[in-house]
């Protein structure tokens, strides 16, 4: 592509002095672009998508106060971290959006237009990372080139002649180490100069003008020539250990064993290490809730704050440790260079179910929680593959399903831990089979196409930066809180309102309590606690949610659900584990069901629950039907919100809810009818 050189007078908007000039950060994947972004921008960054796309960019502020600049100079820079790309002329959606932004074809209201470009290249592999340089320079915008990892290159015996590079490129070139901070002050000065009105623009490289059949060849020859001029040690021999590591880490058997060990560590950390902070968060919110209850007078406002706002926020925050730990470990694995090797190992397995190798880690992570799993699908480069992965991830059994499985296992096998364990395993297995089957179905129907075959750069092994991983993890956690928290809180409040209003009058409550006690000899009102439980049940039944449950119950009749189970299903729309506490209220046990003994009490109640005709509500067929429904149903509002955010549209979130609900209903129905037909209930 032969682009005209933009002179300052041709593009006045580009050179209007800004209080905080915008710098676009461009470069290949794995050149340390994100580490540099984190170094330049100290506070938490804002992560968002280009409007109408799922292509992510990060925006941060680079504080220049340490440079002690005159007052009339900008005191900060706005840095936009663009997706890593090998070319601006490629056919992938991500490359096209990045190129559109750099060409000034995206709406500045969406993301501010770049005043200058910061191109990051890798000192240890100049030839590769300079290929994109000719395309960036030919954009005709002021550009600064940062040669990153200069310290690593130095240790490898490479000398980079930045002066020679600068002379050939016609723009400032600064040697830096994003890892140690070396050269960053100089870089900030050069960026400031480049963003000033009338800043010098590098001449066209001219390497694309003479290309006929393959513009890539000219670009690569140009890059190889420039790298040759700028690098003192022309041939860098790869250490033998790198060859050996690559051989074993991508080996079908040894590589698979190493991969499972790494995933066990990742999964273990997400699942177990997060337990304590999650419990602490739950305890903190419970304490705050109690404190608020003691401060405020009893009534609707108290309930709104304690049960609606605090429980709503708490329900979201409880996932935060898992999200932060997952992204911290994933970033360490990615920075070390291992994750690329792991993708090579699993790619051949995942291709069989129509997904690329990059989908494996998110699917495995979903066993802890679907939210970080969906967020981590950003490693999948192909849009359709990523969408399919997002759609099937919630089918994998997450930790929130465990209380439901525990309850049903105790219902079905109260005296057989082995059978209960087998039931657990079957539920996990069912979720995995469903996820892989639906992935195949989607790839053969609404999102057709073979998974992208593997073409992957194996980055150099390097020691990961803990601070970079921590920063990335905190950014992800903050993004989750900001984007998901607000919507989840709002819908939590709606569910609170539906389960609170209309309120039963004291007369109605008294009358219904007397009726219930008369009709159910099992119920007692011996203590104040028993009476409160019974009245809580009546209030729930009287609420809008209870009434909706009763109205909707015929729909769930084929699954064997009575109105109480139906209310449980509906109340757990926001969070599936809520079904346990809802059933405990409706079956008169109270809402604090969190240990084995209380689960046992609940299951005793459920086991003895009867329908109007005297038959058991929770016979084998209905219990299995309930289990299958909860294995396959969405029943998780935070996941829905994250799906919307990651796909950029509520359409996919609703589709996910719809197909999972239909699948859950159909499979639960088949399971129940099968058991009844076999006479096993």
């Amino acid at each position: 592509m032969n682009l005209p050189i933009i002179q300052p007078s041709d593009s006045p908007s580009l050179f209007v002095p800004r209080r905080s000039p915008t710098i676009a950060l461009v470069g290949n994947p794995n050149v340390g672009k994100t580490s540099l972004f984190n170094r330049l921008t100290s506070a938490l960054s804002k992560t968002s998508n280009f409007a109408g796309t799922t292509i992510e960019h990060r925006e941060g502020t680079c504080d220049l106060s340490q440079l002690e600049l005159p007052a009339d100079q900008p005191q900060s820079l706005t840095v936009i971290d663009l997706p890593g790309t090998y070319t601006l002329e490629g056919s992938s959606f991500e490359e096209r959006v990045t190129a559109q932004y750099l060409h000034g074809e995206r709406d500045p209201a969406d993301v501010p237009a770049a005043d200058a470009i910061l191109l990051v290249v890798d000192a240890t592999n100049l030839q590769r990372s300079l290929f994109i340089a000719q395309q960036v320079l030919d954009l005709g915008k002021p550009t600064v080139v940062a040669v990153n990892q200069i310290d690593v290159a130095d240790k490898s015996g490479l000398e980079i002649d930045v002066a020679a590079m600068s002379k050939r490129l016609g723009c400032p070139v600064v040697a830096i180490s994003a890892r140690t901070g070396l050269g960053l002050d100089t870089l900030e000065h050069r960026l400031l100069e480049a963003s000033e009105p009338g800043a010098a623009i590098a001449p066209s490289t001219g390497c694309s003008s003479g290309c006929n059949s393959c513009p890539y060849a000219a670009g690569h020859h140009w890059a190889a020539d420039l790298a040759g001029v700028a690098t003192k040690q022309r041939f860098v021999t790869t250490p033998a250990w790198v060859e050996s590591m690559d051989h074993w880490l991508t080996h079908p058997i040894v590589g698979a064993a190493a991969f499972f060990a790494a995933m066990l560590m990742l999964f273990g950390m997400v699942f177990w290490l997060a337990t304590l902070p999650m419990e602490l968060l739950e305890w903190s919110f419970a304490t705050v809730s109690l404190f608020v209850e003691s401060l405020l007078p009893e009534g609707d406002f108290q309930s709104l704050i304690a049960d609606g706002v605090i429980s709503g926020v708490g329900g979201v925050l409880v996932f935060l440790p898992q999200i932060i730990i997952l992204f911290f470990v994933l970033t360490l694995l990615e920075d070390s260079g291992y994750l690329a090797r792991a993708v090579v190992v699993v790619d051949r397995w995942m291709q069989r179910v129509g997904l690329p190798g990059q989908a494996f880690v998110p699917l495995l992570t979903a066993h802890a929680c679907a939210i970080p799993a969906i967020m981590s699908t950003r490693v999948i480069s192909d849009r359709r593959d990523r969408l399919v992965s997002i759609l099937v991830i919630p089918l994998m059994t997450c930790s929130a399903r465990l209380p439901v499985y525990t309850m049903i296992a105790a219902l079905l096998f109260p005296d057989s831990p082995l059978s209960a364990a087998l039931l657990f395993s079957a539920a996990y297995f069912l979720g995995m089979i469903a996820a892989f089957t639906m992935a195949l179905v989607f790839k053969m129907s609404i999102l057709p196409g073979k998974p992208s075959p593997l073409i992957l750069e194996l980055p150099a092994y390097r020691r990961p930066s803990v601070s970079n991983a921590a920063r990335h993890a905190l950014d992800k956690g903050w993004g989750f809180l900001r984007d998901a928290g607000t919507t989840i809180l709002l819908i939590s409040l709606v569910i609170w309102a539906l389960s609170t209003y209309p309120k039963a009058t004291p007369e109605f409550l008294q009358q219904q309590t007397a009726t219930e006690l008369r009709q159910n000899p099992d119920l007692t009102s011996d203590s104040q606690e028993d009476l409160e439980r019974l009245q809580s049940q009546i209030k729930q039944e009287h609420s809008a949610l209870g009434r909706i449950g009763k109205t909707v119950q015929p729909v769930f009749e084929p699954l064997g659900f009575d109105w109480k189970v139906t209310v449980g299903v509906m109340a757990s729309f926001a969070a599936r584990e809520v079904v346990v506490s809802t059933l405990s209220i409706l079956y008169g046990l109270g809402d604090d069901v969190d240990d084995d003994q209380e689960i046992h009490s609940l299951t005793s109640r459920l086991r003895s629950a009867q329908r109007a005709d005297g038959s058991k509500v929770f016979d084998t067929a209905t219990s299995v039907s309930l289990l299958v429904f909860f294995v396959l149903a969405m029943q998780c509002l935070p996941t829905q919100v994250v799906t919307r955010k990651e796909t950029g549209s509520w359409r996919w979130a609703f589709f996910q809810l719809g197909y999972m609900t239909i699948l859950a209903y159909a499979m639960a129905f088949l399971a129940r009818q099968g058991i009844l037909a076999l006479g096993l209930s």
């Binding site: 590769r128 890059a223 073409i455």
Partner: protein, 80 residues
């Protein structure tokens, strides 16, 4: 289709080869080209099989057997 002097990359043992042509969809060809695998370029096969590991333009790449079949190359003497 490979010409008489060009053969699929997947048929070659480790060593140096020169890229001749591609029999792949445009998006895969573009991706390979942007990563330094283009007609006329010398690349080193580090490991044959699936995945195939190669070195091109100073970087190590892993490519699936499907991609390796669609890259047609000619052998180069070991000394080059």
């Amino acid at each position: 289709m490979p010409t008489p002097s060009l053969f699929p990359l997947c048929d070659f043992p480790p060593g140096w080869v020169r890229v001749g042509s591609f029999d792949l969809p445009t998006n895969h060809t573009d991706r390979l080209r942007s990563m330094g695998v283009f007609a006329g370029q010398r690349i080193e096969i580090l490991r044959s099989g699936s995945p195939t590991l190669i070195r091109a333009a100073g970087s190590r790449l892993a490519i699936s057997a499907e991609i390796a079949r669609g890259i047609h190359v000619e052998p180069l003497p070991a000394s080059t």
